[in-house]
């Protein structure tokens, strides 16, 4: 599957990046194509572009606050919204949910 994700946390200095790392690692292990945008203290990094959104199967929003630029993803049908902690503690479960 082609999966996109965005991570964000209140301070933007730790959990955003831990969650991104977990999603990238686990996604690759499970054989998915995965790209994760971080919205942290350094602003938006690894931005999801229009090209990324084209043909994406699912989007994971692992965030504790409103995501910036949400309108980019209206074409994606499967959007999973969870607290950022969940992506850190149990990333595999998130991917499993997308497969159901």
């Amino acid at each position: 599957m082609k999966i996109l994700a965005i991570t964000a946390c209140p301070t933007g200095i730790a959990h955003t990046y831990m969650a991104a790392e977990q999603l990238e690692r686990t996604g690759k292990q499970l054989g998915h194509s995965i790209k994760v945008e971080t919205q942290g203290a350094m602003g938006i990094e690894n931005r999801l572009t229009e090209a990324d959104v084209q043909g994406a199967d699912a989007l994971i929003l692992a965030s504790d606050l409103p995501i910036q630029g949400r309108e980019r993803f209206v074409s994606i049908a499967r959007i999973l919204e969870v607290p950022v902690q969940l992506a850190i503690k149990n990333p595999a479960e998130l991917f499993a949910r997308l497969l159901v």
Binding site: P10, T11, G12, I13, A14, H15, T16, Y17, M18, A20, E21, Q22, R25, T38, G40, A41, M42, D64, P83, Q85, I88, K89
Partner: protein
């Protein structure tokens, strides 16, 4: 004849300055009256109570009338006092600094009983409760006596007054603590108050009361007058009056003062409704761990004394506890905790240890040599006015006396001090200095600091009149005596002579010739002296700064007096608070002039020090250091703080700051640069061996966070430990930062952070960290509100790497601090 002035002290005419003013006035035969034009109240200067009752605040228009006696001399002396030493009378120790109303979480979590009052003296103490009962049951006011025994009672009263007076004098003689001395001086002044004593005598004579009843009656009336004041610092003196009244009554009734004394036999916390200053002073401070009072504010003398002796004190609490109960007193936060649980004690132990370590870094045991963070040698010397101050200055770690203002030796007397007396005084300071330099500033008097035995013509503008070196040619003999005394005393150490208010090189020539002649005289008389004394000049007149090339060639050293330099540069009378702005000190014009002076000294190869008040302001130290001033002379009390600040500065970063500041147009632009330089934290590294703790045994999350915060403060990453702790807990409140595999990453972004940092704690056993997680390895990331991206990137990288099990195992296995830091550095370099 009268003298009008605006009342200068910020704290108003409270007891300490009033006692000093009274004492000065009583040295004269003349009678003075103090008039406050705002309140319309008058007071003879010999009555402390009446002075307090004038309710004088800063800025009040006041007058002093001289009624008889040798008016001129008395008036001049009092003016000299009011414009000099009086301005220093206000050194009332400030209330507790660590003030937070936030109760440490561990206290609530541990359960048990605790109370929150008002902290008036910082510190942590643990001891057993000892109740202090009121001194002696208030004697029943006896009515008029059947048989008038007026003479007998008057005699008893007089004996009690005399007895208590000599006891207070004895106590004063033994006291070395400055606050204690001030309180005792106020008590002596109160005891000698003519109005109060008059009230007692009248009560015996006219109302036929017994002596002790007369004391009570007169005290009631006097206390009422104090209570009418709208200033708390004046109302609170009623407690001192009552303290004295109780002691007087005790003496009259023949009570043994030892009997009412509270004896402590183990580490104790004394609990009382109120505690009179004399009863506090009678306590065994070796066993006193804290005070809990129901009444009294931060300016009560007992609170001031507690602060001065470092005894934690909380007020506004009535403890319902049995005597002997073990309690912990947190004087900063105003908390009292009954039977403190071990985890609460552990928390406070960490806090106390952090405070101790930070204090140790500031103490002189760190040695006389002091360097900036990047290794540039700097010296902090002390400005003193009396030989007594030298002792304290050296205790605080002064590298020498940068400015000894000799005026004080000349000001308070009817004849000038002789050569032998001066020689002894200078020698005493030199012996105390044991080899460290002592810069003796030659007599700096003039229209603004008049000498009673040398009446000077009134000048329209004394600050532009015959001051400093300009005054010397007219008083050659007086100056010569001082120089002879200095030459002789110099045999005892490293004495240097400093000439005030030089604006022209010819003035320096004149003094040099005088020194030469004095030396020839001594040689001819066969008196021992040191042949060569370094002769330096004060640079405090803009003309001197602008002709520094000539002056620096001739002078052996230069000393910048920023107070006068700024006053003359801006043409603003520095005693006029409505005109003088603090910001003139960092105005670009001042900085440009200072740069010129520093450069002139460097080019001529002559040392330049700064001895004005500017040098004592931590905020301005980056400017002075950046300008190239490495020798700073400050008030004795500021020495330790200035040393600490200098050690934390980076000289290269300060030079960069000054380069920018010299291009600024206004004070506020410079201020902005100072603020952002401070915010930049002058480049403390993110990772630091001081911030890696592998040997601590914390049992709770509270202890772990506290320990890391204390380390951050000791390593200069924050000055506000409580604020930072709160910021970390506020972040934890959204959800705990445990990661679920024995790691926790607490973090915060907060203005309390001076420099970003990563602090690491590795524990022998995992501790609970949030509802489902435990932690053996804790990474605390602290970030300034405006952290640089470079650091944020390192935080992000660490966060990502922690998701790698191999990396985590590595961190758990690293044998020591250095290898753990090496692992982190290699993994986090971007």
């Amino acid at each position: 004849m009268d003298y009008a002035f605006a009342f200068p002290l910020a704290g108003g005419l409270h007891a300490w300055p009033a006692a000093a003013l009274r004492e000065r006035a009583m040295a004269h035969r003349a009678r003075f009256e103090f008039v406050n034009e705002r309140t319309g109240r008058k007071a003879p200067l010999n009555s402390l109570l009446a002075l307090l009752a004038t309710d004088t605040r800063r800025g009040d228009p006041c007058r002093i009338l001289v009624e008889d006696g040798n008016e001129d001399e008395a008036r001049l002396d009092l003016i000299a006092f009011l414009s000099g030493p009086f301005l220093d009378c206000d050194r009332n120790p400030a209330p507790a600094e660590r003030t937070s109303t936030v109760v440490p979480r561990i206290i609530e979590r541990a359960g048990g009983r605790w109370w929150a009052g008002t902290g008036v003296s910082e510190g942590i103490g643990i001891g057993r409760v000892v109740f202090a009962a009121p001194p002696n049951a208030p004697q029943k006011p006896q009515g008029a006596q059947d048989e008038p025994r007026t003479d007998f009672e008057l005699h008893a009263l007089q004996q009690a007054l005399d007895g208590l007076r000599s006891r207070l004098m004895e106590e004063l003689q033994l006291a070395s603590n400055p606050a204690q001395r001030s309180v005792l001086e106020v008590h002596l002044a109160l005891l000698g108050d003519a109005a109060w004593q008059g009230g007692m005598v009248a009560a015996i004579r006219e109302d036929h009361l017994a002596a002790s009843a007369a004391v009570a009656t007169a005290t009631g009336a006097a206390a009422d007058a104090l209570h009418r004041s709208d200033q708390q610092v004046i109302r609170e003196r009623a407690q001192d009056l009552q303290d004295l009244a109780d002691r007087l009554t005790g003496v009259i009734s023949g009570e043994d003062p030892e009997a009412s004394r509270l004896h402590l036999t183990e580490p104790s916390v004394v609990v009382a409704d109120t505690l009179a200053p004399s009863r506090f002073l009678a306590l065994d401070r070796g066993l006193l761990r804290g005070l809990v009072l129901a009444e009294g504010g931060g300016t009560s003398h007992t609170a001031i004394l507690a602060r001065s002796f470092g005894i934690p004190c909380v007020t506004g609490l009535q403890l319902d506890l049995p005597a002997g109960q073990r309690v912990l007193v947190d004087g900063g936060r105003g908390l009292v905790i009954a039977d403190p649980p071990p985890e609460v004690e552990a928390y406070y132990r960490i806090e106390t240890e952090g405070d101790r370590q930070r204090a140790a870094r500031l103490t002189p045991s760190a040695g006389r040599t002091l360097a900036t963070r990047d290794g540039h040698r700097v010296h902090v010397l002390a400005n003193i006015s009396t030989p007594e101050e030298a002792t304290g200055a050296f205790e605080h770690g002064a590298a020498g006396i940068g400015l000894f203002r000799t005026e004080m030796l000349f000001l308070h007397r009817s004849t000038p001090p002789g050569e032998d007396e001066q020689c002894q005084t200078y020698g005493r300071i030199l012996k105390e200095a044991v080899g460290r330099p002592v810069v003796l500033r030659m007599l700096d008097v003039g229209g603004d600091k008049p000498l009673s035995y040398l009446p000077l013509p009134q000048e329209a503008n004394p600050f532009l009149g015959r001051r400093g070196v300009r005054w010397y040619p007219g008083h050659r003999a007086l100056v010569c005596t001082q120089v002879r005394a200095a030459l002789r005393a110099a045999l005892h150490g490293d004495l240097r002579l400093l000439v005030p208010l030089v604006s022209d090189v010819e003035e320096l020539h004149w003094v040099r010739a005088l020194v030469r002649e004095a030396a020839e005289e001594l040689a001819a008389e066969g008196v021992a002296f040191k042949a060569s004394l370094p002769l330096g000049i004060m640079v405090e007149v803009p003309a001197a700064a602008l002709s520094l090339e000539a002056l620096a060639r001739e002078a052996d050293f230069l000393c910048v007096g920023t107070n006068d330099l700024v006053q003359y540069l801006f043409a603003v009378d520095r005693s006029d608070a409505s005109l003088m702005r603090a910001s003139y000190e960092w105005h670009p014009a001042t900085l440009r002039l200072l740069e010129r002076i520093a450069q002139g000294g460097r080019l001529a190869g002559k040392p330049v020090s700064v001895c004005g008040e500017m040098a004592g302001r931590p905020k301005l130290l980056p400017l002075l250091l950046g300008l190239g001033f490495t020798d700073l002379s400050v008030g004795p009390a500021a020495v330790a703080g200035v040393r600490g600040t200098l050690a934390s500065l980076d000289a290269e970063a300060c030079r960069e700051l000054v380069r920018k500041a010299l291009l600024a147009y206004t004070s506020s632009e410079v201020e902005h640069l100072l603020d952002s330089a401070q915010a930049a934290g002058t480049a403390l590294p993110l990772l630091d061996p001081e911030l890696v703790v592998l040997d601590a045994d914390c049992r709770t999350k509270e202890e772990a966070i506290k320990l890391l915060v204390e380390r951050l403060a000791t390593a200069g990453r924050t000055r506000d430990t409580l604020g930072l702790e709160e910021a970390i807990w506020a972040r934890e409140a959204t959800y705990a930062t445990g990661l679920g595999f024995g790691f926790a990453v607490p973090h915060c972004k907060s203005p309390t952070v001076i420099a970003n940092a990563i602090a690491v704690l590795r524990l022998p056993e995992p501790i609970e960290w949030g509802p489902e997680a435990t932690a053996r390895l804790v990474f605390l990331l602290v970030s300034r509100a405006d952290a640089e991206e470079e650091h944020l990137r390192v935080f992000a990288r660490l966060a990502r790497r922690l998701m790698d099990a191999g990396f985590r195992q590595h961190l758990l296995d690293d044998p020591d601090v250095e290898s753990l830091l090496a692992t982190l550095r290699s993994e986090l370099s971007t």
